[in-house]
Assembly symmetry: none
């Protein structure tokens, strides 16, 4: 798709705003979905004059994680562009990941006489884990040419970045997990599975041994197991692929990280959705494309809190006029995936989409909801088509063929 798009791109002064209502899609409880139950006069009015539909994040029946969910709506095929588990973990823990980094997921574990007796070090408390990770950071800031950046996680989990002076080859992270997946076995060796992986393998071995030396007097967390060695995906930036200078507005590090994966500007900001919109207004003259991320809707869905999710949607609805005031050439509202409160988690269901521009039919949907969007002019379509639609509606794509 990007190959088709690229030669057609033309620049202009148009502004595109993509609002991602994280996990907005839902399922009915007592006959209504969260979007249907919420009182959303502004979203509904917008839906009536917009092109609506539903996007399929990855494929029919596939429940996306946040990574593939966002990649798709950013215009990257989430099946082709798979992001390594280490990278996703590091992003999730709030690390700023660079092109020269190798990311690794780690567990504290208990080893005795060379045998793993507890793969999770008794699920040590998060507070204790945090202290140990800080200790590792202070004593292990560098191995060979790699700078080390640690991030504590929940319980026995943490992540580490190996920051190299230069980007590595795509196969330089082909290192097997050292977690034997079962207690009573020795840890596996972080071998290099490709010629280019020898450097990372050597550093991984040192990291594991040096960490063991530092942790050896701990009762439980006296060893580390490593998994998911991965580098940044080798994909074109959003600017290269779509010709858009883009700004990510997200308060959660994970989503800034995903935007950074595709090269968007990702200033660290804090605050409420209203603060995000304020920031959008401040920077509105400086960019072509704005990704504004609204997190809390998803969080309440994950908790199975139907009313809470609906209330967060209503809160956003009240703020929507502030975005409309900017009169963007193209405004898209959607989610990265569905998170029905009924399911207490992400799901495979297609996600409502609304696209407002001067070049839509409109008049097909009476509200912004899963069921109303099935009646819309965009149909049910793969998420990767969203950015081409945004480009077309901002008149940024030339004719294909004469």
């Amino acid at each position: 798709m990007q190959k088709l798009i690229k030669p057609l791109i033309q620049k202009n002064d148009s502004k595109i705003i993509l609002v991602v209502l994280d996990g907005v899609g839902g399922l009915p409880i007592n006959g209504k979905t969260e979007l249907e139950a919420a009182n959303t006069p502004n979203l509904d009015a917008l839906a009536r004059e917009s092109a609506c539909g539903l996007h399929v994040p990855v494929a029919y029946g596939i429940t996306p994680g946040s990574g593939p969910g966002h990649l798709g709506i950013f215009g990257y095929d989430p099946i082709e562009c798979q992001i390594g588990r280490g990278i996703l973990e590091a992003l999730g823990l709030g690390l700023e990941v660079r092109k020269t980094d190798v990311a690794v997921r780690c567990n504290y574990a208990t080893i005795k006489d060379g045998i793993i007796v507890d793969r999770r070090a008794g699920r040590i408390p998060t507070e204790q884990s945090k202290k140990l990770t800080e200790k590792l950071q202070s004593e292990l800031s560098r191995i060979d040419e790699a700078e080390l950046i640690f991030a504590p996680g929940m319980e026995h989990r943490f992540a580490v970045l190996l920051r190299f002076p230069e980007p590595l080859e795509p196969d330089a992270t082909m290192i097997p997990d050292t977690d034997p997946q079962k207690e009573g076995l020795a840890p596996l060796y972080p071998a290099s599975l490709s010629k280019n992986a020898e450097k990372v393998s050597r550093i991984a071995e040192k990291l594991i041994n040096m960490a063991h030396e530092i942790l050896k007097d701990e009762e439980k967390a006296n060893y580390i197991l490593t998994r998911g060695f991965s580098g940044m995906p080798h994909i074109p930036t959003f600017q290269e692929a779509f010709g858009l200078k883009s700004l990510a507005i997200a308060t959660y590090p994970m989503y800034r990280g995903l935007a950074k994966l595709v090269g968007m500007d990702t200033p660290a900001i804090e605050g409420s959705v209203e603060d995000e919109i304020k920031f959008l207004k401040e920077r509105y003259n400086d960019y072509d494309f704005f990704f504004l991320h609204v997190k809390k809707i998803d969080s309440y869905g994950e908790d199975g809190n139907f009313e809470g999710k609906a209330a967060r949607i209503e809160e956003f609805d009240k703020l929507l006029p502030q975005i409309l005031e900017l009169k963007p050439d193209v405004l898209i509202m959607t989610g990265d995936h569905s998170t029905p409160a009924l399911m207490k988690g992400h799901s495979w269901h297609p996600v409502p989409v609304l696209l407002k521009s001067p070049y839509v039919l409109g008049g097909l949907c009476s509200a912004f909801s899963e069921r109303e969007c099935t009646k819309g002019e965009l149909g049910i379509f793969p998420a990767v088509n969203l950015i081409p639609l945004a480009l077309a509606n901002s008149l940024r794509l030339k004719k294909f063929g004469a």
Copy 2:
């Protein structure tokens, strides 16, 4: 798609029932399709609370045979997984085809002085053809290492299986058709078009010559022409691809054969649809997935009998509550293709689909019909997506990406 699905599969105790109403899709005569004309209160009630849509069996405009039609709804890309004509013919004639078999379609023909003077042996009566085929079977039960299994067909047609002791290589059946396609020409030689095909070529030559020797005194059917040499497709089984222990419930050998192609259990059963449902209940504890095939709807469509087709749909509707009593986690009702009575044959039209699970929107379609299903939440989608949807709705798929 199977490659994407496989690492996500998780097991649980859920039950999935796929009811295939063969050829159920239709076209209007006097304004109503067969499904619209039929009185189907149970199907309609189910549609109101289900996810509905239409599946495209192969591609827009492509009319599928029963083979590709079923492969698609079994989750196999019907364009990638093409089944050899010999295999399809053998299945259609009710032969039980094994992994070690090579199947061949044959014609009786008339040869004179080495020239084919009638490619169809004057379309000899089926009864006579049957006797000749029995004669071939009794005199030709084995050639070299291959056991021979003949199946009589209509008029001049029959099929033969070459049953080897072990599976052959994928290219072992690269043998050209010996039918010259025109009278007045010599039959072609069953040459080996690949190194691995030499064994089958040698046996094919002997088969043709020995059959000619046996038939030489027949007035018309004194020779055989061979076409469509093929082995079983090299595809993963349904269990391997989707992690489902599966049972096919079908009274027609052709459909058991298609299910057997993908490794479903296919006990030979007889009787009515009610008998099929009885069998489903008896075996309900033993499997994860049930393919229940309802044939007669298609047969009346093929005959151009609109009322008959509608009546068969009504008959099924009366039995539906017996299936609902089982309370499967996921129930899918669809067809393998459309067979509009108007067209007296298969057609390319998308086929209505209904999927019932706890995780659907529902409420979008007032009945189970072609037109109502266009309003559903599943949209119009490729048939291969049906099994991933079944897996998702039975919570048998893990999240893709973190």
